[in-house]
């Protein structure tokens, strides 16, 4: 690498890192409990246990559960029903109206049912009045820092800078290591040199993981714009023939249980896990939108929407997801680290911790930089190489 190329890469590494480090530190710290969100959620869960019934007890009729929800909150609309494939629960989400929900999604509240007995297990208050949970707080800090979509896009940009810092880090790694063996840590010279070596060593050892988690994190931050794009292109085209129709009233809506069965029959190798009711901005004004997912480890991350005409109950379409939403679906497990059991989660947490060390040591190296007539890049490299030379001379003696 020429000296001027090294200086340019070093400049990119310095500035990309400096701008994103504070945010990345928050992301890494909040990400740590999020790796274990399933376990922590289980631990903090105060809901009464499920009725113990034989494992093959069938689910209650969804129509009954929806009707009961409407009775409990007359005049409100049903937004969606989630049919868990993990626990025997069905969660019905409701809101005062679609307009209110579109304006502020937190006006929604949910009712959790035992899927088999259709007994209410717990009801939430409107989410505007619920006190935030620990995990909810961590997730908000991690994803948007309480700033909604702009926050997501901002942290996505910080993620891109993190990726730029890794790539430029790869570029400047070589010149620093020309006179050193892999994973050398010169602990006996100065704290600064020790931390430079640790920064380089940990950074290069974890670079593939950090790149994957960084890039998939950026993709996750773009999920709202991607769904909006899909809604405004493919979904819009699909709904073109229905133009001019009104949203079906409750009386006009056909059986949701039958819609569920129709959708399930259309995708026999998948499992339907949720129904979005007609009227949602993330769905269709005229259809039940049912989300089905595969049953294998990888395919369970891939969702297929099935549209069922809400009035006639006829199957409309099994929708093919566009490539960018497939990419989003694949990026989720690769970002969360939740796809290989508890050992993988522990490894994820440890890699997260060492990433914090790389960020922290990078910051320390910048704070402890010396003023020198040479450019910062050159003096960094000279300092490192001079110490390496002394080291190799001592070794030769």
């Amino acid at each position: 690498m020429t000296r001027s190329a090294f200086r340019k890469w070093f400049w990119v590494h310095k500035w990309a890192s400096l701008i994103c480090t504070a945010f990345l530190l928050v992301i890494c710290v909040t990400g740590l409990p999020l790796v274990f969100s399933e376990e922590i959620g289980e631990l903090l869960n105060t809901d009464p246990p499920y009725a113990s019934l034989p494992a093959d007890t069938p689910n209650a009729n969804l129509d009954g559960i929806v009707a009961r929800s409407r009775q409990m909150y007359p005049g409100e609309i049903v937004i969606s029903a989630f049919i868990d494939d993990d626990e025997p629960k069905i969660v019905v989400t409701m809101a005062p109206s679609w307009e209110a929900f579109t304006a502020n999604r937190k006006v929604a509240h949910w009712i959790k049912y035992d899927a088999r007995t259709a007994q209410v297990i717990r009801q939430s208050k409107p989410l505007t009045q619920e006190s935030p949970t620990f995990l909810g707080l961590m997730l908000t800090l991690h994803r948007d820092m309480f700033a909604g979509l702009p926050g997501e896009l901002f942290l996505g940009a910080m993620g891109l800078l993190f990726v730029a810092a890794i790539v430029s880090g790869i570029a400047v790694y070589g010149p620093f290591m020309r006179k050193l063996d892999f994973a050398t840590v010169r602990a006996d010279r100065s704290p600064r040199l020790k931390w430079l070596d640790l920064h380089n060593m940990i950074g290069v050892v974890t670079l593939a993981w950090a790149l994957v988690v960084g890039v998939t994190g950026v993709i996750n931050e773009l999920s709202k714009p991607m769904f909006m794009l899909w809604q405004n292109t493919d979904v819009k085209a699909m709904l073109e023939p229905f133009k001019g129709q009104t949203i079906p009233t409750v009386a006009e809506m056909g059986s949701v249980q039958r819609a569920l069965e129709t959708a399930q029959a259309a995708v026999p190798d998948m499992r339907v896990t949720s129904v979005v009711f007609p009227g949602s901005q993330f769905g269709s004004p005229f259809h039940y939108l049912l989300w089905a997912k595969g049953k294998e480890p990888l395919t369970s991350r891939l969702f297929s929407p099935v549209m069922v005409d809400a009035r006639s109950g006829k199957l409309q379409a099994v929708v093919e997801m566009p490539w960018y939403l497939r990419a989003l679906e694949i990026s989720r497990p690769l970002h969360f680290g939740d796809y290989g059991g508890m050992p993988l989660k522990i490894i994820w947490a440890l890699l997260d911790l060492v990433t914090i060390m790389v960020l922290g040591s990078g910051l320390y190296l910048w704070l402890s930089r010396r003023s020198s007539p040479a450019t910062e890049a050159d003096s960094e490299l000279m300092e490192s190489n001079a110490a390496a030379l002394v080291l190799s001379r001592e070794a030769a003696e």
Binding site: G174, V185, D188, L198, V204, A208, W209, G340
Partner: protein, 65 residues
């Protein structure tokens, strides 16, 4: 055989990156079981390299005292 500088510098980092990629994909694409175990091993090795370099540093520092 004398290696060029580039090879010398990058063979370990490249090997660890390949191992990481394998570990990330084997748990995702494999059907549990052995693929999970291989994933844990592959992803634990970079962590062990860090721990080993750390240990070596401490021993080097101690021996100078």
């Amino acid at each position: 055989m004398k290696r060029s500088g580039f090879q010398n510098i990058w063979r370990w980092p490249a090997a660890l990156a390949a191992l990481t990629a394998f570990g990330l994909l084997s748990a995702l694409l494999g059907q549990g079981g052995i693929w999970w175990v291989l994933s844990w091993i592959a992803l634990a090795i970079p962590l062990m390299v860090i721990a080993a370099a750390w240990q070596k540093r401490r021993r080097a520092a101690d021996s100078r005292r």
